[in-house]
């Protein structure tokens, strides 16, 4: 270890290997150009995307893929806005046809106020998707029991919410997140709820494999600068996790030696 960033510190999901541990969303930006610049500044290799109807009245409208290019980023299509397993399967079949990728993000929501996942329906949807050959990264609650059920059902990654989507509240249950990280044999990503760089650092210090965020960057006053901050935060947290933190002590321990005092 020479103290430089770990060049070979990679992580893998569904047979694909990545160097960046920061996945960014592509929603809520001023425009697609700012969105692309933020994704670049974040050093992201994966971006989440949504599937929606094309605008028939103006087919010349700018398209995401013209700015955030699928040959530069791995697209992770989501099922945002889906409330049933069938909706999610239908959406991701279209995503697979549009992009040709089988790596997807499943989110089945319960309630438009808090957007927390409906875990019973999420687990059912996961089984439907796996039966159709999808590789599924699953947005979930921070419940270690359901996280285990998802893994047992074949989830490619477990992605607990730190806090409600877009709330920027940071990690609400460090203990549960720690339990999920400890028990999981597939990658664990904090997905949703990150508000600022320290939230990303804490997630990575806990031992998460990666962090997924959208609003924390898109709604910053300067999104490009926040994207850069998040890139550094994720690297810092990861390096601290790998380095292994010092033990906590009850009392002070001087850094300058007592011996030789004049």
């Amino acid at each position: 270890m020479d103290g430089s960033a770990q060049i070979d510190d990679t992580w893998s999901v569904a047979g694909r290997t990545f160097r960046s541990r920061l996945i960014v969303g592509t929603g809520k930006y001023k425009d697609y150009a700012q969105n692309a610049a933020a994704a670049e500044a974040a050093g992201a290799e994966i971006v989440t995307v949504a599937i929606r109807r094309v605008n028939l009245s103006d087919p010349s409208q700018p398209m995401l893929v013209d700015y955030v290019k699928p040959d530069r980023f791995t697209f992770l299509p989501n099922t945002a806005g889906c409330f049933t397993g069938e909706d999610a399967v239908r959406t991701l079949r279209l995503a697979r046809e549009a992009g040709g990728w089988d790596l997807v993000k499943l989110e089945v929501l319960s309630n438009t106020k808090h957007l927390l996942p409906d875990m019973e329906e999420t687990l059912r949807a996961l089984k439907l998707l796996i039966a159709e050959g999808f590789q599924v990264m699953v947005y979930c609650s921070d419940d270690p029991v359901y996280a285990q059920k998802l893994e047992d059902a074949g989830a490619a990654a477990i992605m607990p919410a730190a806090a409600p989507i877009g709330s920027g509240r940071g990690i609400q249950n460090l203990l549960n997140l720690g339990l999920i990280i400890e028990q999981s044999r597939v990658p664990v990503l904090v997905d949703a709820g990150v508000g600022t760089a320290s939230d990303a650092v804490i997630s990575m210090e806990l031992g998460c494999d990666a962090v997924l965020m959208n609003t924390a960057i898109a709604e910053a006053k300067d999104p490009i600068r926040m994207a850069r901050a998040m890139k550094h935060a994720v690297i810092a947290g990861r390096e601290a996790f790998l380095a292994g933190r010092m033990d906590r002590r009850m009392y002070a321990d001087p850094s300058s030696p007592r011996a030789g005092l004049i």
Partner: protein, 73 residues
Amino acid sequence: MATGATQLQLIVNGEDRAFDGVADVAGLVRALGLDVRKVAVERNLEIVPRSTYDKTKLTDGDRIEIVHFIGGG
């Protein structure tokens, strides 16, 4: 009978639309001015693979969804 026979009534992305001279999915995507490489099409809840657009005939009342990737989290 000659021209009227070619008009096709479809429900595209939830809207009732009529098309002249459109017979298949490839023709529909073209008529709408969309880039075939950037969209995915569903016909009556079934995915239409891109490679079969010109073989997939359309009939009156077909429910078509045409989607693409947009920004999302």
